[in-house]
Amino acid sequence: MPTLNNHPGWAVQLKQVFQARKFVWIFLPSVLMALVFFFIPVFSLLRISFYENVGMGVYHPALSLNGYIKFLTDPFYLRVIFFTLKIAVLVTSISLVAGYPVAYYVSRAEGLKKIICLLLIIVPLWTNLIVRIYGWFVILGQKGLINTLLLNIGLIDQPLSMIFQPLSVVIGLLDMVFPWVLLIMISVMEGIDWSLIEAARDLGASRFQSFYEVTFKLSIPGVVVGGLFAFVWSMGEYAVPSLLGSSAQRTISIEVADQILTVLNWPFGASIAFTLFMISVSVLFISNRLTQKNADYMIR
């Protein structure tokens, strides 16, 4: 499986590309930027993760895997990993299941309806996350929207505790992930040629059969890609769990931030961060392979 260890392979390919034609120089700024501000720092991260921590922000160059071992074996951290995975899987499944019908609806909508729907998806997409989290504070809080409403109607006697719970974390992550998942799935579904469905109906398939045989089967790659992205982002998100969760809800990202900003144990923090990075990158590669395969067979 291609990992960062493939670096030499890429570098060789890059060199080939640059030597091939002058035109390719147009990529110099972007590749340079990615190299200097991303790949090299990531490599730096990797190196630091091998260092020995001495305490209070001091560490020695070394080549130890202690950080990784600690993170992957210590029961406390295992619980954190497990919790993060649990939340990520939950958020991913809900977003895919609830998002699929919406994506189908929007991809088949026309004219004004479609534009409005797309707008309603784009607005949260570009609105920054912190602001949306604040909105959830107001909705889920003790004196917030839902509680006030339910109290007034008389459905409950005491305010429900909905914030600083796993529930609020899941809700916050869903809010973050939905627009992206929706757009990914919508774009895949729009690529499905509707005459295929007509053909299926013409040949004897009922509405449901034609949906299943054509639309559903052809939309699976989009669903998978969307799911993978939802998973990676839910796992790596920091603001949502730190604000909408209590101290009992610790995710990998919270651990990392803690180690790096508070405890100042950079090597250990780096190990965790790098592990997270590797998971994200692997997922990225899987989804890239899938979109390639999909592109191959959508060419008519």
């Binding site: 053909a199 299926a200 013409d202 040949l203 398939a205 009922s206 060419i299 008519r300």
Partner: protein, 361 residues
Amino acid sequence: MAAMNDVELIGLTKRFKDTVAVDDINLEIKHGEFLFLLGPSGCGKTTTLRMIGGLEAPSAGTVKIKGQTVNGVPPEKRDTATVFQRWALFPHKTVTENVGFGLKMKKKPRQDIVRKVRECLEMVNLSGLENRYPSQLSGGQKQRVALARALVVEPAVLLLDEPLSALDLKLRQQMRFEIKRIQKNVSVTTVFVTHDQTEALAMADRIVVMNEGRIEQIGSPHNIYFNPVSRFTSDFIGETNFLPGCIAAQEGDTVVVELNDGGRIRAQRTGDEPCPTDVVVGIRPEQISLSHQASTATENVLRGKVMDVTFMGSTQRFQVAFGDRMIVVEDVVGAGSESCWHPTEDVYLEIQPGACLVLPA
């Protein structure tokens, strides 16, 4: 009982927002017939086809298949199968799965499906490609898979929506022959939509010429070509020179028309128009021959000037100035010598008697 009509269209109309795509079409299609819907883009032929197949619901009128009214019956329950313009092959299914799809939907047993698919693929000359995916096939092969897919379900009516328009010329000509052969073998009632008149003339049993949602003319290819009843049909099919004039006399079964640009034409009488009536005389380029000598005849000979000669291989095309207009003439090239016509030369156009059509102005 007379030969059964497999398809009947009665007063079929389709309106989209503020346009009428199909306007009161009445048509009967006999069993086993190869019928063509021919017309320019936007004339409503595809919409009509789709209404037969159930992919569009009529705004008014009735569609009957094998005597049963099928209005309101969804496409999967109709006994029709369509070959789409872009073939609409399922990209994620193999050729076998594509062709067998209709049978799978009918819940036929597996062995039957396998057998029938194999037979059908043989019939369209595609044996050996069972496990390929559409993206691995050439245009002609995709075409045949689409055809096999429609034929294997043994529909009462086979519908083809310009299936050859995406192929290049040589392939198109080849496929025309194949489709005609298969249709004859299977003897399925077929409706073929096209804007290409060569296709229609070559393959059809009967042609329905459509324009702006209405039927212009129905007839055999021969009939349509040589006896168009309207200016549109005669213009759309083949090529026609239109010369305006006025009916001067009617004698028996012929009329004499005085052309506005000079000369007289005697032609078959087609109607009962009193004289004088403004008419247009239609003459096909290949029905005119050129002569250097003046003729003694007072009718059906016109005088003009050759303006341009184009060598077309088996024929020559002449642009002849006649009054204010240009007449196009197509004459066979004599063996051996080069063209003996030069621009600005005076020439006499001899028109075959009986070759002119008198059409309303």
